[in-house]
Structure formats: structure tokens, C-alpha cells
């Protein structure tokens, strides 16, 4: 535990974290990049979720759509995560003490887990149903779960802004 605390203190006391805290335009700029990236993550993954639910892109085989969408999603996620990390270290202790921040991290992990489980369960027989307009129940559940999780993640993100003490 103290190792993690030391690590967090190391980042929070770094000169980068200090610049983000003290500079008037740095924080909002990184935050804007974070918002753009998150929007692309959520918007692109929604395309896949709606396909799994059988609501959109029904003429596209699921495998092909996944291969087209996921590079966009992961690219945006990399930007969202690194910009998010920079925002986090600017005030790590306060963020960790914020319940919405902790919930957001847990929810992001759950969204990742949902994706991993879906891939593990469905890769084998994907060719058999990927052209169906309405995929099997487990695929629809994965799509619905993903939508709900990302809505909750965005909501937590917004609530962090209202519950953090003065930066």
C-alpha cells in the first residue's frame, strides 16, 4: 500500500503535475483533448453495440465492423487514458478521495472485462452468426451492457467536476 502511495506522491509532486496545476490554460487544454477522445471512444463503441443489438449497421458482418471500428476506439482510448492520467496526477490525492473518480475507473475496467468476455465466448462461432441481423442473446447482452457502462462512465466523469473541491 505504501508503495502505491509513494508512486502516487512521486507523480503528484513531479514538475509536469505542478505545471498542470499552476498553469491557467494547461488544465483546460488537456481536459478538452480528454473530452474529444472520450467522445470518439463512446461514439465509436456505440456503433458496435448497436450492431450487436441488431439496431444498426445490420448489413455489415459483425467481424468486419469490429475490425473497422476497434482501431478507432483503441486509438481514441489511448489518447483519453493518457490525457486522463495527466489530469489525474495534477491532483491525485483529491481525485482518489472522490467516489465518482473511483467509480469511473472501476466502470472502465468493467467495460474492458465485458469486451474480453464477449471476445472469448464469441470468437469461435462468430462466423456462424455474424451476418444475422439480430445476433444471439449473449451478443445482445454484451452490447447492452457496454452501452449502459459507457453512459455511467460519462456520467461519473461529469459528476467528478461537480464534486471536486477547488482545483
Amino acid at each position: 500500500m505504501s508503495y502505491i502511495q509513494n508512486l502516487i506522491a512521486f507523480f503528484e509532486d513531479s514538475s509536469i503535475a505542478d505545471s498542470i496545476r499552476e498553469n491557467d490554460t494547461l488544465f483546460p487544454t488537456i481536459e478538452s483533448i480528454h473530452v474529444v477522445a472520450i467522445c470518439l471512444v463512446v461514439g465509436s463503441i456505440l456503433v458496435l453495440d448497436l450492431r450487436l443489438l441488431g439496431f444498426a449497421s445490420m448489413n455489415r458482418p459483425v467481424g468486419r465492423l469490429t475490425r473497422a471500428i476497434l482501431p478507432v476506439t483503441w486509438g481514441a482510448f489511448a489518447i483519453a487514458a493518457s490525457s486522463g492520467f495527466l489530469l489525474f496526477i495534477s491532483n491525485a490525492t483529491k481525485y482518489l478521495a472522490n467516489g465518482y473518480f473511483d467509480a469511473k475507473i472501476v466502470l472502465i475496467c468493467m467495460a474492458g472485462l465485458n469486451m474480453i468476455v464477449f471476445h472469448a465466448v464469441s470468437t469461435k462461432d462468430l462466423p456462424q452468426w455474424e451476418k444475422q441481423k439480430s445476433p444471439p442473446l449473449r451478443a445482445r447482452i454484451a452490447g447492452a451492457l457496454s452501452i449502459l457502462l459507457w453512459i455511467a462512465i460519462v456520467a461519473c466523469g461529469r459528476w467528478i467536476g461537480f464534486t471536486m473541491q477547488e482545483l
Partner: protein, 165 residues
């Protein structure tokens, strides 16, 4: 400017504004819905732009990609208009006397024109950006579209940092 300040004061004194101001969960909820819709419209536009650059769904004709992603933007824009209006009613001074807000609206107007033009062009003449000579025009349009949409999102976030004290 003075008229806007007066209007903001009047708006802030309405009972609807009062409700939005005092019930603490309303503003974050509206903002969450607003951002989710922004994510949807922004990603839809960007995916079509990426298709024009031939880095997304190259195996699908541009017309099909456009037909799947651009028309749904319009109903989403209506939700954005509704949640955005309620946010303005709740905190009129935050946006109505804020230059960044007007920058966002100007960029939004450009984005709407660009998206509508793109949708109409591609659906009317599917091959419009496919042949080599027109490719450059398509890529220029796609680049401007991505930049303008990013500008809208940036301006949206900066409204919070540029509001009058």
C-alpha cells in the same frame, strides 16, 4: 451586450431557471445527456470523414457509410438543442455573455452546413469523391469537418473557463 445581460437576468429569474439552479442533479444530468449526444454526432461525422480518407471501412462504398452515419446526426442535434437550451436557461450568464459560447455556435453552424453538404453530395452522386481528381476536394472537406467538430468540443469545454465572474 447590455441587452444580453438584461435578458440573462430576466431568464435567471424565471421559475424554470430557478428549478434547474436549485435541484442539484439537474445540471450534471443535462450535461451528461448533452455530452453523450455530442459523442454520437461527433463520432458519426468523423467516421464518414475517415472513410473519405480511406482509413475506415474501405470495403464499403462511401454512399453506404454516409447513409448509415450522417442522417442519424439530425435527430441527435435536436436533443442537443433541447439539453443545451435548458442548460442556458439554468445558467444564462455562463453562456449568453460569453464569447466562447458564440464561437461554439458559429462553429456548429459551419459543421451543420458541412455535414448537410457532404450528405447531399454523396447521396446524390455516390462516386463524387471516389475518382482520383476529386479525391483532394473530398479530403479537404473531411479535414475541415474534423477540425470544426474538434473546435466545437474544445469551445464547449472552454465555456466553463471563460464565463464572466
Amino acid at each position: 451586450m447590455l441587452a444580453l445581460t438584461g435578458f440573462s437576468k430576466w431568464l435567471a429569474a424565471t421559475s424554470l431557471s430557478h428549478t434547474i439552479q436549485t435541484v442539484t442533479w439537474i445540471i450534471p444530468t443535462l450535461q451528461t445527456i448533452h455530452i453523450l449526444c455530442v459523442a454520437n454526432a461527433f463520432s458519426s461525422a468523423v467516421l464518414v470523414d475517415l472513410r473519405i480518407f480511406r482509413v475506415f471501412e474501405r470495403d464499403e462504398p462511401l454512399r453506404e457509410v454516409t447513409r448509415r452515419f450522417l442522417p442519424p446526426i439530425w435527430p441527435v442535434l435536436l436533443i442537443l438543442l433541447a439539453t443545451g437550451s435548458l442548460l442556458i436557461i439554468g445558467e444564462p450568464r455562463r453562456s449568453l455573455v460569453n464569447t466562447t459560447f458564440y464561437l461554439k455556435m458559429a462553429l456548429l453552424l459551419v459543421a451543420i452546413l458541412l455535414t448537410a453538404t457532404l450528405q447531399r453530395m454523396v447521396l446524390a452522386a455516390p462516386e463524387v469523391f471516389e475518382d482520383r481528381s476529386r479525391q483532394l476536394a473530398g479530403r479537404a472537406l473531411a479535414t475541415v469537418s474534423i477540425l470544426v467538430w474538434c473546435g466545437i468540443l474544445f469551445a464547449g469545454r472552454w465555456i466553463a473557463y471563460t464565463q464572466a465572474g
